[in-house]
Symmetry: C2
Subunit: 238 residues, 2 copies
């Protein structure tokens, strides 16, 4: 049994999609990120970095409970534990790890900044909006180009690279990012969306989102400042 702590963000949806794909039973525990629960002592004991998702595998290494944070580490842990969605060796393994890592370091953080400066803080900085829009579009085009050559991001087989990337790409239109002419990316997205695990994940995510919306409605201004990382330190440089 896996205990999954999170909310409805793409990084959490990755893990739901993975758990649905590999068929491992799990329990979902909502974290009230809009109300600073991730900065509290109980959550920081799970992840000192105060971010969701986190899992606790009740049947971890040596049969003991084991806690894993960072979505990329969780995907790798679950893949290696179950022998699914990540080849054990050879070129196919590292092709998957390269495209997984590009999601973790590029698509994830940069789409995150794009959302911050377009949806949550649209008046903060024209410069930042343009910067992150440029980078988000560039990354979309890198993925589309990759998928003109291979059916899945890692190559011939569906893998944790696809699991990690899909939740952001599923939302392109909602994020007002371009899809026109990105035919290979859209074809790949349809293929992933049609997997039964993706359907189950979408239904689960809607439930979680609705519960999160209720929590968010109760957040204070201070809660939201902290959640959004609006910045509390004066710039240190001269």
């Amino acid at each position: 049994m896996i205990d999954l702590y999170g909310m409805s963000s793409p990084n959490v949806v990755k893990i739901i999609l993975m758990l649905e794909e590999i068929g491992t039973p799990y329990r979902f525990h909502p974290i009230e990120v809009w109300r600073k629960e991730q900065f509290g002592e109980a959550f920081r004991a799970l992840n000192p970095n105060s971010k969701v998702p986190v899992i606790v595998d009740q049947d971890g290494p040596g049969g003991e409970p084991y806690t894993v944070f960072e979505s990329g580490a969780i995907l790798t842990y679950l893949a290696e534990k179950t022998g699914q969605l990540l080849p054990a060796a050879g070129r196919a393994r590292y092709d998957v790890l390269q495209w997984l890592t590009l999601q973790l370091t590029g698509l994830g953080p940069m789409f995150g900044q794009y959302v911050h400066f377009t949806r949550f803080e649209p008046n903060a900085s024209d410069y930042a909006r343009s910067r992150y829009t440029t980078e988000a579009v560039r990354l979309i085009d890198v993925l589309n180009e990759r998928l003109t050559h291979v059916p899945y991001l890692g190559g011939d087989a569906y893998s944790i690279a696809d699991v990690a990337t899909y939740p952001w790409i599923a939302r392109l239109e909602a994020l007002k990012l371009p899809v026109d002419g990105r035919d290979a990316l859209l074809r790949w997205r349809d293929t992933v969306a049609n997997r039964p695990a993706a359907t189950r994940t979408a239904l689960r995510t809607i439930e979680i989102q609705q519960a999160g919306d209720a929590s968010r409605a109760a957040a204070t201004a201070d809660d939201l400042d902290r959640m959004f990382g609006r910045g509390r330190y004066a710039h240190q440089a001269s």
Copy 2:
């Protein structure tokens, strides 16, 4: 023999430090990132995402040359190939992978944005400067807290989590980020800095930096716009 393509950025320094640690022979190939070489066809054949570092292992899987991009994937590839700096299984393996991934998704991208908005574009946005300063300081404190409990980021042993994190932490003062009171982090930094591989890496990095400075001096305004990701797409959202 490993061919390493890069410049003097922290993501490349990670790989130099790793290669020096594991004792694998390598050749360094400078990429003129200030002059858009990473966007050219030759480099995109190595990494379609136009980022350094990239390695080509002339003795890759099956004895054939193999290309790896993304510093986190390169570190994992080299660790698994040589059996060094990443345990093969168990809690110790995933403790390392969690802290490695936190560097890849948090420290790296957020320090990168901090540098952009404080050093390269200090007048672009007060809001963005404050946001990324806040996040950089928060991450420094997360690392310091971790290192009050364990000697290395992954736990008891030096690992690729330390290799990935050290190049940014080595520069804290130069980046005008706070170190006072972060005693555990500074103790860890000294320990890593005193490794012979770190000394060799520092000398190598200075050579590479000097060559890079000469290349940068020849860059045009358009080159720099593209290198800095200043943004060329109008914001798409309404």
